[in-house]
Symmetry: C2
Subunit: 140 residues, 2 copies
DNA sequence: AATCAAAAATGAAATGATTACAAATTTGAA
DNA sequence: TTCAAATTTGTAATCATTTCATTTTTGATT
């Protein structure tokens, strides 16, 4: 069962302003790892004064508070994910979609638990290639 | 035993121009995951006409040919690695250094072999936190 | 319900890595 | 030597992200 944005924010010590609520609601409702651009474009209709800077500030705050994670899987743009549980991500070189690969969470945990004298804060497993949809399209 | 740049380039089907040789030699001799900026700065002394565009072009070619890999572990900048064997990378939030974490290569392989209907091209395991050196400095 | 300082949001301008592109240079086969 | 293809170069554009000064909102206190 998915937690609501209000609870999620306050549990991470984030004051739930209207803008922050809107961004977090969007992240939860659209777990497709949106970019700043996409989030802003989606929300500015119902929240006309929302600035892109606020979206940047808000996401930065989420990440620092552990309420979201940054994906740097795409060189061009930064993507965001409200799911902070360890799972792998797959970027399709054809369509650009980023898939969640959660089926082997335990292995991801093991592979990302390597360093000993290191203080480990965040981990990412990034896979790249071509997704089933695009593979099928190519074999038309 | 480390292969020389010439062999490494030709084995990947890359014509070894002076610029390409210089960049590959630098990558092999300095496995610290340098940026375009760092590579250019290091080489322009002995190769004064080397342009940054050429460094960009050259690295792009290396990556497309499988002679190097891109690291997107750092949001700010792209880093390059001539070691294309699967291994994890650790970015220190304090000093910015990127460490190779090779000690558990088998687990990395397993964790990055997840998708089935997906065509998998490249994999990355990124860890972030604070390195031993910086941890020690903090406990001065 | 008015006041006011702190927090948050805004928008314009700056930054800086990367890319596009046209011109110049180099390469190597004929 | 000739010449077209490949490579390199430098400048200018692109564009995501950051900076920063100003404006707005919030919420505690009179």
């Amino acid at each position: 069962m998915q937690k609501d944005a209000y609870t999620y924010l306050t549990e991470h010590g984030i004051k739930p302003s209207p803008q922050r609520m809107a961004v977090m609601e969007y992240l939860i409702a659209n777990p497709v790892h949106p970019t700043v651009e996409a989030i802003h474009a989606a929300l500015v209709g119902r929240m006309p004064t929302l600035s892109k800077t606020t979206v940047y500030n808000t996401l930065k705050l989420f990440v620092e508070s552990g309420a979201a994670q940054v994906l740097t899987i795409n060189e061009k743009m930064t993507n965001f994910d409200a799911d902070v549980e360890p799972h792998a991500h797959f970027l399709c070189a054809e369509c650009g979609e980023i898939y969640d690969i959660a089926e082997n969470e335990e292995m991801v945990k093991q592979a990302t638990a390597l360093p000993e004298n290191f203080q480990l804060d965040t981990t990412s497993v990034y896979l790249r290639g071509i997704c089933p949809k695009c593979l099928q399209k190519k074999n038309k």
